[in-house]
Symmetry: C2
Subunit: 352 residues, 2 copies
């Protein structure tokens, strides 16, 4: 459900006036993760450390007023106005749906395979009413019979790559998963997003639960039921030949036949869908002479959801799935650095 | 959308008072197809010909008043009261959700494999306030890791079998498809429902279209776009390895990249889902040393929807898919006959 209003709130204890004043002397970059339903703003020092964070519900489909009436400016001012007042020269970068056709300005997709240089070359600038220039990172498009697009995830992926140049930035092929509404799985090699796949797992789960007969018998359990979840994963893996349209009906029929309680049905359905996602991913990896089994892969996203995926991945022989934290703010910093918006080596230039 | 009220309407021109009076002298059976959102009543003569039909929106989840307040009696009286007043001794049979746990009385599922005798043995009776006894046909349950249930379709299947005893009632294995909200595919042999599968294709399509991002860019075309539909079927068949959770996103990305118009997107998505259903069916048939290719199969259901399936089936090598009409009323008649409620040979006994 869409929230009735939108408001900015501090999510970081350092983000009070006194601390912010002190921090702003060291401000080197403002970065925005601006999606459909939310806006997160990060203030960095010249070392790339986050000094302050602000979060609001001013996503591009949830602006405080319409785009024609300056909604983007209003949301930006609300999130970053106080910072910019004291540090007006700080560069600003943004990633996510803000660069879509429905965003502030469209930053056309760059084609996969895409490395950080390609993202930088695709940056589009927009001037805010307050005088600041936003540098908007483009999304990535993979062409084909089943085209794929991402906006925001490309920046998170480069954030995850930036963490460990030895394993992932090398020539070795790496797999990065981004569970969520539209889950992404990207194959990365030599610092490039080679190809990726989208699974509408999160959104389909919500639609099935809220708008089909399956939800009618479901009761949310007090705590997640890992047994029911794993049962769903295994059914999708071992008995999923008929496809998801067939297996999901079992959430109802196992209930009708007394084999699955109402409280178990949500986690069972979640396991079924994530199991079908991973089985589908395994099928396309197999075509690429690759496999989930034995992979050392990385997950980016909500911790509880990534934990579900980690558990499900073990059922596909993948026991090394590492959760990458702070991929978004690291990625924004990395792209800004690559674009020359900040120079991490010249900290003193910014510290005064 | 649920209709605000419920009302009974005549759908057959013979169903006016004068014609009904004349017909009722020959009445031999009342049969009800009583589902979740609708109730259809058929009046037969002793030859099994339908004399009159009535239809209402008084499905078991849409009764004129609650079940506790006599909602089932009220709906039954509304549909059949006029008939029963003049022919109170006419037997009554009913199939569908009226026999579910939420129905008038529960008629427990009979196990697959199930023939017409098994259905008859599972009939449960309930006495209506008006004095009539309803004979409620049970549904069929197939046990297993992915249990399957049907209620109403079993009667339609026997209706389709009754049509042609040479081809389908023989020992030859036959495949019958019932497209719809929860599409069913049944393997029938020697007059028995051997096994069946359920695909939530219709309900998932509606949920995706109405409650996910995919619907936002869709515009209903003036007429169905068979080209877009077939494109979806072929993608599911040839490029569907990643599964439906992945392929459906292409309804959006093909739009974003200018390869699929807004008007084409609904039929493309329909083709994708029906294509995944048939690919999944083909996978389970293969496990049973069977195949869609070369099948002479039958379809029961809405004509326009069955036509979609017929077109899609040709993409799987199945060019003989015959639409069976009036399967519901034929099936109800057949089960009633088998149960001894009517005796087609003794027409004169009922004609007076």
């Amino acid at each position: 459900m869409k929230q009735a209003g939108s408001h900015t709130q501090a999510v970081n204890p350092v983000n009070n006036a006194a601390a912010a004043d002190a921090n702003l002397q060291h401000a080197a970059l403002i970065a925005l993760d601006w999606g459909t339903t939310s806006l997160r703003a990060y203030l960095y020092d010249a070392a790339g450390d986050v000094l302050a964070t602000r979060a609001s519900t001013d996503g591009i489909m949830n602006l405080p007023r319409s785009a024609e009436q300056g909604g983007f400016d209003a949301a930006f001012e609300d999130a970053c106005g106080a910072w910019l007042e004291q540090a007006p020269a700080v560069p600003v970068i943004a990633a996510g749906m803000v660069g879509s056709a429905q965003g502030w300005v469209e930053a056309p997709y760059v084609d996969a395979p895409a490395n950080a240089d390609a993202l930088v070359a695709g940056i589009v600038r927009v001037k805010a009413a307050c005088g600041a220039t936003l540098h908007i990172v483009p999304g990535v498009l993979q062409r084909g019979d089943l085209p794929n697009v991402m906006r925001g995830e490309e920046t998170q992926i480069f954030g995850a790559l930036g963490q460990d140049t030895s394993a992932v930035d090398s020539g070795k092929r790496a797999l990065i998963g981004l569970p969520g509404t539209h889950a992404k799985w990207a194959v990365v090699q030599a610092g490039r997003i080679e190809r990726f796949h989208t699974f509408m797992t999160g959104e389909v789960f919500a639609a099935l639960r809220q708008h089909t007969i399956l939800g009618r018998t479901m009761v949310t359990p007090d705590r997640p039921d890992t047994g029911a979840f794993l049962r769903g994963v295994k059914i999708a893996r071992d008995k999923g030949q008929a496809g998801m349209l067939a297996t999901v009906f079992s959430a109802r029929t196992l209930g009708l036949t007394g084999q699955l309680s109402r409280e178990q049905q949500p986690d069972y359905l979640s396991g079924l869908l994530i199991g079908h996602e991973l089985a589908g991913l395994e099928a396309v990896l197999t075509q690429q002479q690759n496999s989930l089994a034995g992979q050392h892969l990385r997950l980016i996203g909500n911790e509880a959801l990534c934990e579900r995926y980690r558990v499900a991945l073990t059922q596909f022989g993948c026991t090394h799935a590492e959760l990458v934290k702070h991929a978004t703010e690291r990625g924004l910093w990395r792209v800004a650095t690559q674009a020359g918006l900040v120079n991490p080596a010249a900290q003193t230039a910014h510290a005064g």
